[in-house]
Amino acid sequence: MAEDPSGWSLTESDPQVFTQLLRELGVKGLQVDDLYSLDAATLEVLKPIHALIFLFKYIGGDEGQETSGIEVDPLESGVWFANQVINNSCGTLAALNAVMNIPSQWSEHSGEEIALGSELENLRDFGAGMSAFDLGHVLSSSDRIREVHNSFARSSPFSMDPSAFPEREKEDAYHFVAYLPVNGVLYELDGLRRTPVMHAAVEHDWLVQARETIEARIATYPPGSVMFNLLAVRSAAIPRLTRLLNDPTLPAESHMQLSDQLEYENNKANKGRTENTLRQHNLLPAVFAMLKAMGETGTLVDEARVKGQDRRARKEKE
């Protein structure tokens, strides 16, 4: 595989990649999910939510206003904040900027404890008092983080031209920004900015301020000029749902709803495991086997022509 000079490969901005990446870095009790809407009902199902990661890319037009808010010194505000100093790491960096600020939470229930794990705790201790720029270098020179990050790179024995993936998301095309509360204040952590940006004091539910801030930001872009996506860093769902379902005092109507949720979470986790396993494996031998089978069974010829036409038609539509 073609190595980026930094040694960091391109990965996908897929929630299952983030979930597994955090797990392999030793983070306990958290998972990452796509967030399709910021409305109260959607957020309610996913709570507790500890951070939001806002991904966007410009697809033309004006760039809109960057952001509102006040730049603050991370060391004075107690926010852990690292700058992005190398390519291809923006998603991983945003996830780390988020989880380094999520307080540990002890729980008496198995699997529900939230903890950074020793790897990241050591990094945090090592970097105490460092500037955002230096922390960026500490992260980028961590062998363990780079190794885990790169294990999710697209596996291909060929030199990789990123343009080979026209229809799928390329992480480097996106800008990643984490939003989360630290000590009662909503912050925006964007590794490409010099400092954290302070937005609002948080009342009982930080997501109220986060939603207003993100919606206001989206509104500053001309319609159609950006594509965006939101990820939620939330408490691991399966251990909590399993415990609640095993509680004999659970009312029957909640039982139905929670078991649906558990089934959904289990299916998602299984699919994520399959996809992550495939990501970390060279799939070309299986691809060759399928292509040869198509040739041998004579099912390849006309399909190729029809599909070639089809692709041209699609291109014309784009």
Binding site: E167, R273, T277, T299, K307
Partner: protein
């Protein structure tokens, strides 16, 4: 679970990338929508070979579906995303135009609200009609829609304005377009352009291959990573979700890219049982694969051609 809606429709494409002309493709198909895992899926399916194309996941309110006012036949519709500049064109293919408006309203309502029940929304008033329509009632006649002005709703008229022909096309224009399309020869003209491997080995083709030839599973299975929770001898239903995962599309795209940009070493081709020249490009690679065709597959092939 059955589709929420299924509307006979073909696709239409821009004549060229920046063209404001949109030409209908003759293939018969269906627009279908279905809720899966709380996500609205929308796709176009060929009625000729059952292949699903253009599968989209649409979030509520992200897209609108409306009639293109500039098409005098009234049958061209546009799916337009507010979150991006993606646009898809379709033309309704029911024998009668009766029901086109209902289908368009139902598709659009489902895009806005996944819980919408098709057939329940009131139909918008048609400017060309002389009587007020009864909401939801079956329509007895369907007058020719007035050109340009008769969009299905006010939001739809703004959303289509930028999309299609700059001025209302005359019937002669439309006839000329169809003749030009026919003269371009459809499939024949594409033979000089090698297909992309992602299209040759698309998820629907992989599904068809494995379903028709389950015998190949035993040779593919050992090449897959362990830890996939697959049984020792997986059935087509068990292995297809793995083989059609997006990571396979990425791997196929990287192979396509490697063949296009400089080719693959002949030694690698030899190991695959292909001539060394197969690595020189996509066309050579596909030709070499076609040459693998076993004589005993001949009868089967002929049968498939008749489908």
């Amino acid at each position: 679970m059955a589709a929420l809606i299924s509307v006979p429709a073909g696709r239409s494409v821009r004549r060229s990338q920046d063209s404001k002309w949109v030409d209908p493709l003759p293939e018969k198909g269906l627009i279908e929508m279905k809720l899966e895992d709380d996500l609205m899926h929308m796709w176009w399916k060929s009625r000729e070979n059952g292949a699903v194309e253009d599968e989209l996941i649409v979030f509520p309110g992200e897209a609108t579906f409306s009639r293109v006012g500039q098409d005098p036949s009234g049958r061209t519709h546009i799916l337009k995303f507010s979150s991006s500049d993606q646009k898809y064109f379709f033309w309704f293919q029911r024998a009668s135009k009766e029901g086109d408006l209902r289908a368009a309203v139902d598709i659009n309502e489902l895009l806005q609200d996944p819980t919408y029940r098709p057939g329940t929304a009131a139909l918008p008033e048609q400017p060309a009609e002389s009587f007020p329509p009864t909401p939801g009632a079956p329509r007895l006649s369907h007058p020719e829609p007035a050109p340009a002005a008769a969009a299905t709703s006010s939001s739809a008229s703004t959303s289509t304005a930028a999309a299609a022909a700059p001025a209302p096309a005359s019937t002669e224009d439309m006839a000329r377009l169809l003749v030009e399309w026919a003269q371009s020869g459809g499939l024949a003209s594409s033979q000089d352009e090698p297909a992309h491997l992602t299209d040759v080995l698309s998820p629907s083709n992989i599904t068809a291959l494995v379903t028709a030839h389950p015998g190949i599973i035993s040779s593919i299975k050992p090449l897959l990573p362990g830890g996939l929770d697959l049984p020792e001898n997986p059935s087509p239903q068990e292995i297809i979700p793995v083989l059609t995962a997006p990571q396979f599309t990425d791997a196929i795209a990287s192979l396509d890219n490697a063949l296009r940009s400089g080719g693959l070493p002949g030694g690698m081709m030899r190991e695959l049982g292909l001539p060394e020249s197969a690595g020189t490009g996509v066309k050579a690679f596909l030709d070499a694969l076609k040459a693998l065709k076993r004589p005993e597959a001949q009868g089967e092939d002929e049968r498939m051609d008749e489908d």
